[in-house]
């Protein structure tokens, strides 16, 4: 393991220490009762109805649910991006390393991204800028924590990091553009960049969904190994239960803006407590056969049947 960890300590300048005593659990990320709504032409639409979720240091936590359930908006709030959207109304607590995110201004939030927290999105090729070489973009990433880093030093460091993600010819790749490389290669580069500053939290929103299954499987395994080496915690967002099962230590299941179930991955998968989790699992076709899953009722509302013992939700609002 070659990385020194420039961006990972609590002592890194620009962000003031918030109310540490509130974060008694010692969680790296602690989200409590998060609500989100959007103001629009047709009125106010609620999207998150009181989400609570926490991640410890080095832990891999998955947020799984169908499209539109509120996964990406949750990620964007943690990253401090949705706070810039004028129509969004956010309430609740988000604490990162003991700092209350709502007490930060836009530039303080920006200072966190790419340093103490970083992100990986769905499509590696569109995440990289086609106009600049990989080496140029890598240098920009490294300069987020060390402004004065020389180009030569940055290239050396980048080559080292590309080597750790099994890129055989880093020098050639640094001089290339993303469109000259395969999707799998770009995904490896993205992983290396996202971990370059050894962030304490990585947010991966449907990573590699745009890639082929074989490449996706390989790069997920790589990401799994790399976060372990960097001791980086992950908020892993996915709609694919199989992928979640292979990647995460802990799982939160989100349904229409509410967490309906949480637990250790193995226990959630072996004995799902909530009807929605059970339906999701039953709906996945098995590679061992057994026929097309029989999912009834198009309009089933999983908030309706009562919540099970390990569901954190006490009641519903309309």
């Amino acid at each position: 393991m070659s990385a020194n960890r420039p961006g990972s300590g609590e002592d890194t300048g620009s962000v003031k220490n918030g109310s540490m005593e509130r974060n008694s659990s010692g969680a790296l990320l602690d989200i409590r009762d998060l609500h989100l709504g959007f103001r629009g032409y047709t009125g106010y639409t609620k999207v998150l109805h009181g989400i609570s979720l926490s991640i410890n240091r080095g832990q891999r936590v998955a947020l799984v649910g169908e499209s539109g359930s509120g996964k990406s908006v949750t990620a964007r709030i943690v990253l401090g991006l949705l706070q810039e959207t004028r129509t969004a109304r956010i309430t609740g607590d988000v604490e990162f390393q003991g700092n209350d995110m709502s007490s930060l201004n836009a530039s303080q939030r920006r200072a966190l991204r790419g340093t103490r927290m970083s992100m990986i999105f769905q499509d590696p090729t569109s995440a990289l800028n086609p106009v600049f070489t990989i080496g140029y973009q890598f240098t920009e990433v490294l300069r987020r924590v060390d402004e004065k880093l020389s180009k030569e030093a940055a290239y050396l460091r980048a080559a080292e990091l590309l080597h750790t993600v099994s890129i055989p010819d880093p020098a050639r790749v640094l001089d290339a553009y993303s469109f000259q490389l395969s999707g799998g290669m770009n995904q490896r580069i993205i992983i290396a960049m996202a971990l370059a500053n050894s962030p304490s939290l990585l947010i991966a929103d449907e990573p590699g969904t745009a890639l082929d299954v074989t490449v996706q499987a390989q790069t997920l395994q790589l990401m799994h190994d790399m976060v372990a080496t960097h001791n980086t915690a992950v908020l892993f967002i996915s709609h694919n239960l199989g992928v979640v099962r292979e990647f995460a230590d802990r799982v939160y299941v989100i349904y229409r803006g509410r967490i309906v179930e949480e637990g250790a991955t193995q226990s959630v998968f072996e004995s799902p407590g909530h009807a929605y989790t059970r339906a999701l699992m039953a709906a996945v076709p098995r590679v061992t056969g057994g026929g097309i899953p029989d999912i009834d009722d198009e309009s089933a509302d999983f908030h309706d049947p009562c919540f099970t013992h390990d569901s954190p939700i006490a009641g519903t609002e309309s």
Binding site: V213, A217, A279, P285, R286, P293, E298
Partner: protein, 269 residues
């Protein structure tokens, strides 16, 4: 087993000279009447190119395509076009947003001049209910429907012309898992009830296992393995096929065991 569709030595080369792409390489296969034949392979393996040649959207560079034993010309007649229908991955882009759902489904009936006006309206309502949609939805715009409803409209459109052969190009890949299960079940039921033949293109091996009778595996434009579904999954002959199957993310202990068995076989050979 009579073949509804026969591909004979089919090739497609895009471009020429040094920049030529040989997208489909010497593919021969028979699709049996009434079966669900899956075409699998990673992106770029030539699946969509193959479908486009079958549909007559692009001409083959060489080789022939026979429908019920008769070679199809490059320039298809209306009757040929009617005979093979298509359902695509993204129904929002394949359905014209300016046309109501009913008009989209009806279009084929108008173009191929099937029945008279009153018949056509009745047919539209009938196929919408065949795919589990309220016929009242025909007045809506596709944009006002959910992803699953749109895919049902695309299926209804393919059914409307009473074609026997339907090419499905990643029909459920963009759908959520619960919706996917319902659409897969619908497709399976329709095939059995109406005696349809499917050419089911997908990269999702766990879907294939549960819907297909036979599987054709494509790698870089070539057909590398062709077998009935049980045989292919239980004893894949090619490393490439084994890799595709073992890359499927799995949920259950049974699937994990299946995968380890597959991988250990790979290492021995």
């Amino acid at each position: 087993m009579s073949a509804i569709l026969s591909l004979k030595g089919l090739n497609k080369v895009f471009g020429r000279g040094r920049s030529a792409v040989h997208a489909v390489k010497d593919v021969s296969l028979d699709v049996a009447q009434g079966e669900c034949l899956a075409i699998v392979g990673e992106s770029g393996s030539g699946k969509t190119t193959l479908a486009n040649m079958i549909l007559g959207v692009i001409p083959a560079s060489s080789g022939s395509i026979e429908l019920n034993g008769v070679a199809l010309p490059h320039k298809r007649t209306l009757e040929h076009r009617r005979a093979i229908q298509l359902v695509q991955q993204n129904p929002l882009s394949s359905l014209n947003p300016k046309r109501s759902v009913g008009a989209s489904v009806r279009l084929g009936l108008d173009v191929y001049e099937i029945g008279d006006r009153a018949d056509r309206e009745g047919k539209v309502e009938a196929v919408l209910s065949d795919v589990g949609l309220d016929p009242e939805l025909r007045k809506r715009s596709p944009a006002a429907l959910s992803g699953g409803q749109r895919q049902r409209v695309a299926i209804a459109r393919a059914l409307a012309c009473d074609s026997r052969l339907i090419v499905l190009d990643e029909p459920t890949s963009a759908l959520d898992v619960l919706v996917q299960a319902r659409v897969l079940r619908l497709l399976d039921t329709l095939r059995r009830e109406k005696g349809l033949t499917y050419l089911f293109i997908t990269h999702d091996l766990s879907v294939v296992r549960n819907i297909a009778d036979r599987v054709a595996v494509f790698n870089a434009g070539s057909l590398v393995e062709f077998a009935d579904t049980e045989t292919l999954f239980n004893s894949p002959q090619q490393d490439y096929t084994r890799q595709l199957i073992s890359a499927v993310p799995v949920l259950s202990a049974e699937e994990l065991n299946f995968r380890s068995a597959l991988q250990s076989r790979e290492h021995k050979e």
